[in-house]
Amino acid sequence: MLINEFLLLGAALFCIGVYGVLARKNGVMVLMSIELILNSVNINLLAFALKNGGDVAGHVFALYIIAIAAAEVGVGLAIVLLIYRNRRSIALDELSQMKG
C-alpha cells in the first residue's frame, strides 16, 4: 500500500477536528473534536513506524498518546463540569471574564 493513503486519511481527520474545535460552542463537543485530532496523529505515527520497517518507537508513542488523551479527557470533563456547576451553561463563548 502507499503510505499516502494513511497520511491523507490522517490529514482529513485532522482538518475535520480543527473545524470542530473552531466551530463548536459546547465544551463537550470541543473535547470530542480534540479526540479526532489525537487519533489522526496516531494514524500518522503508526504509518511512519511501518514505513521505517516496523519501528517500535512509533507504537510506543502511539500508546503514550492514548494515555495522555485519557488524562486530558478526564481533566477536561472535570473542568467542563465545574463551569456548568458555576454558570448552568457550558457555552464556551460566554466565558469572557478574562477579556481585558
Partner: protein, 169 residues
C-alpha cells in the same frame, strides 16, 4: 507473520473503513445532537482501530478499543449526562460564525494534501514482520522507561486533579 504490503483486499478494506471514518468524523462535528455525535465518534474510533491493524500494530489496536471505546466514550457520555438537562436535538451547539472555521479547515486540508502528495507520492510501505506485543513491551520497559514513568506521574496528577475539581463542597 509477514505483513503483506500490497494485496488487493487491503486496499478495499482500507477504502471502506476510511470512507466510514470520514463520514463519521463529519457527523461528529456537524451533528446537532450530543449523544449522536458521541456515537458517531465511536464509529471513527473503531475505524481507527481497524486502520491500526492494517498498519500491523495489533497491540495499539487492542488498546484503542479498550481505552478509547471502553473508557473515554463512557466518560463522554457521563459528561453529557451531568452537564445538560435534555437529551436530543439542540441548536445551541455551534458558534454563530461557521464560515471562518470552514475556510481555515479547507485551507489546512489543501496545504496538507499538497505537501503530502508532493513528498510521498511514490513511497510504498515495505514488507515487514508484524510488531508483536512482546516487542512493544520490551521497548516500553527498557528504552522508553523514563517517558513511561513521566506518563504515570501525569496520569496520577490528572486523576487527582479531576477528583479535586469535580468534588462538591
Amino acid at each position: 507473520m509477514i505483513y503483506a504490503a500490497n494485496s488487493v483486499p487491503q486496499h478495499i478494506g482500507f477504502g471502506i473503513i476510511a470512507a466510514l471514518m470520514i463520514v463519521g468524523a463529519l457527523r461528529v462535528v456537524t451533528s446537532n445532537n450530543i449523544i449522536r455525535a458521541a456515537l458517531w465518534l465511536v464509529v471513527v474510533l473503531a475505524g481507527a482501530a481497524a486502520q491500526y491493524i492494517l498498519l500491523a500494530a495489533e497491540f495499539v489496536a487492542v488498546t484503542q478499543v479498550l481505552v478509547y471505546i471502553g473508557a473515554i466514550m463512557v466518560l463522554f457520555l457521563f459528561g453529557t449526562m451531568l452537564t445538560r438537562a435534555q437529551i436530543g436535538y439542540e441548536k445551541e451547539l455551534n458558534n454563530k460564525h461557521r464560515i471562518i472555521p470552514g475556510v481555515v479547515a479547507l485551507m489546512l486540508a489543501g496545504i496538507l494534501t499538497y505537501v503530502l502528495i508532493d513528498a510521498y507520492h511514490a513511497s510504498r510501505l515495505p514488507k515487514v514482520d508484524v510488531v508483536t506485543t512482546q516487542q512493544v513491551s520490551d521497548a516500553i520497559f527498557t528504552t522508553y522507561l523514563l517517558p513511561f514513568w513521566a506518563l504515570s506521574l501525569v496520569l496520577t496528577a490528572a486523576v487527582i486533579g479531576a477528583i479535586v475539581l469535580a468534588r462538591k463542597d
